[in-house]
Symmetry: C2
Subunit: 404 residues, 2 copies
């Protein structure tokens, strides 16, 4: 009898947690499990703002895939997914192709620029290890350039962050700590450096508790971050950005624009012909793609509505990881011929937004936290995520213990 073939696309939070759970449920003879990922490493997406700012090294935030999987049970293919032929149960990769009996699409997110002119061409996005590392090196380079010019261009020292949502705030939090180091490294007076966070919504961190938002903004302003709230980016150019607020248009010159205000699912979702919204598939409670009995979509490529708020759950690592568990359970049930599948219900323990390594705000089990207690919880969250993926060994190797 031929073993069923389970193909998992993506080694992010969702994909890895599916594997980790499948490995526990299935023996080597039960199924053929194949994991496909673009890189030979998994990375902590929620740490990329730190890599981008240069406050942690990329190697801290990534793990070789082979360290996370049981290679006796799982075949790993380093390749890029090009398309999925759903009718033929086939996945096209850049260098080969694969058939599947069960498919898990966990291809993560991409930047969404909402059609704002020039963002794709001129703005950086915090979307991968490669992208994060490039942001870090770009900032280093423009700072290194500053003192070489006869006519000093202050825009080399202006960093614009588009978006004061979760990622934008966490990124400027790291920059606030990084800027003094950069000034020392490149002999630049601190007062020449500007970090400007631009947000179209009427508040930073929309959806967060207003008291915590006020704390975050005040703390970051104290560290030298400028906020332009209720201000929309109209265009990004080679020279900087054009913003508008109350019909007042302003140009801000900057050599570094980082767009941190929008994410969407993978373009492969669209290409494969799934019904989708911005690359996200509205999945069933059992995480199946509509109209399919063997294709699961999880993580940032999936869309589920929170019945309490009637709005989609946010694309978070927490949910992606939990979905990996449900997905593995359902594949195992399907393999046993069970009709009844497990229903996914997120167990949201809380949200913590860091403001640099030494400060944070958050709500954990319904309790508001800020300052060092929130910062402590942020590290607990980060370490827990490592523990779920790779056990205590991974926590010891890459965990965050700079509690104080």
């Amino acid at each position: 009898m031929k073993k069923p073939k389970i193909v998992i696309l993506g080694a992010g939070y969702g994909g890895i947690m599916t594997i980790v759970n499948l490995q526990k449920k299935l023996g080597a003879s039960d199924a053929e499990i194949v994991l496909v990922n673009k890189n030979d490493y998994h990375y902590e997406t929620t740490w990329l703002h730190e890599v981008s700012a240069g406050t942690i090294h990329q190697d801290r935030s990534r793990v070789p895939v082979k360290n996370l999987i049981n290679t006796n049970k799982v075949t790993f293919i380093k390749d890029t997914v090009v398309d999925i032929k759903l009718d033929e149960k086939r996945v096209l990769l850049e260098n080969s192709e694969l058939t599947y009996d069960y498919l898990v699409v966990a291809l993560g997110y991409e930047a969404e620029t909402f059609g704002i002119k020039g963002l794709k061409e001129y703005a950086f996005t915090i979307t991968s290890i490669n992208a994060a590392r490039q942001i870090r090196e770009h900032i280093d380079y423009v700072f290194a350039t500053y003192n070489n010019e006869v006519e000093k261009r202050d825009e080399l020292l202006t960093i614009i962050v588009g978006g004061a949502g979760f990622t934008g705030i966490e990124f400027v939090g790291e920059l606030a700590n990084r800027v003094p180091q950069l000034c020392k490294e490149f002999d630049i007076p601190r007062e020449k450096v500007r970090v400007i966070c631009v947000e179209a919504a009427p508040t930073a961190l929309p959806g967060f508790d207003p008291e915590l938002v006020e704390y975050a903004v005040t703390q970051l302003e104290r560290k030298g971050i400028e906020f332009k709230i209720g201000t929309a980016i109209k265009e990004c150019t080679e020279e900087g950005i054009i913003v508008s607020k109350d019909d007042q248009v302003e140009e801000i010159k900057s050599a570094t624009v980082v767009w941190a205000a929008g994410v969407r699912g993978s373009h492969v979702i669209e290409k494969a012909g799934f019904e989708n919204m911005r690359g996200r598939v509205k999945v069933s409670n059992s995480l199946l793609a509509p109209g399919h009995e063997d294709v699961f979509v999880i993580g940032d490529c999936s869309l589920m509505i929170n019945p309490e708020t009637e709005r989609p759950y946010p694309p978070t690592a927490q949910i992606a990881m939990q979905q990996g568990g449900t997905c593995a359970e359902n594949i195992s049930r399907l393999m046993k011929g069970q009709k009844e599948l497990s229903e996914f219900k997120p167990d949201i323990k809380g949200t913590v937004c860091s403001l640099g390594h030494d400060d944070a705000i958050g709500v954990v089990y319904g309790r508001k936290l800020f300052g060092s207690s929130a910062s402590f919880m942020k590290k607990v969250v980060d370490n827990r995520s490592l523990f779920l993926q790779g056990g205590a060994g991974l926590v010891l190797k890459k965990g965050k213990f700079n509690f104080f």
Copy 2:
């Protein structure tokens, strides 16, 4: 009685050694000594190829000026020299001006591009801490960019070094060691990286012993450096360089072109109206500028003919430092009203050219050296230079002890 005012322009090897020697000869009441320098630090120019390649940090190769001078005897002004009004015995600085009784011009070198099209616009030069640091960060940035592009551009990983003279060879020697680190840091296959050293002369290191040159080239080629000897750079563009050899024209695409093949004296020499050749003043044996009794020119802005070869002495740190001694002696003699001045005669102990931190070639006291003995001598030379400038303390702080 008014104290005579000695103004020294430049805190490089020549300027600092003039100060160090003047401080010994003169008491605080004998003269007013003013040192002007663009930066508040002195740097080891002969180590800049290491900073540029990223094999040592800039802070290793620089020292605050105040640590090298006796501030009871010397006034330091951080400013940029704009012009010298020789008739009025006045020096114009960016932010102020100075009069002098004795002037020492030790403004160092600038890059000479010999009118080759595009070099000024598109090539980097190893001419200062700022410039060196920018080269390092530029290379980091283009390497970080490589993996972000859908269509990989191999020219991002091609580094062209113009010139296989002393600086060019020392720089590619460092790059040979640095490239494997860069590949690891940015997930790049080593075989994708090219370092190409282009030299118009029929040999690398013209003037060096041919046996040593062969050793150097062979060793560097073994480490992956490519040489294009007898090949002239015709033009540098935004895309790379255009070279010609035996009337064959070739374009080499590269994101990083470093011009290391020509130096000249300071543009201030020309502006001030000194008789000069490429910013270098042909000084008398007592180091005075022609037609002046109170203006000394030393270091890379000076030109002296070696009577044995009838060619100019090369612009080296060794000679600049020795000139500082003679210059200080002659100022002190002039102050005492002595007519007879000391004549400068370089005492050339040897020349060592590094090929990375672990290899070198050289001639020391007429003896040919290569490999680890030469590499050892190179570090002795570097440490001796520190000792002369700042004593044993400076050697301990910044010296090179990675002998093996």
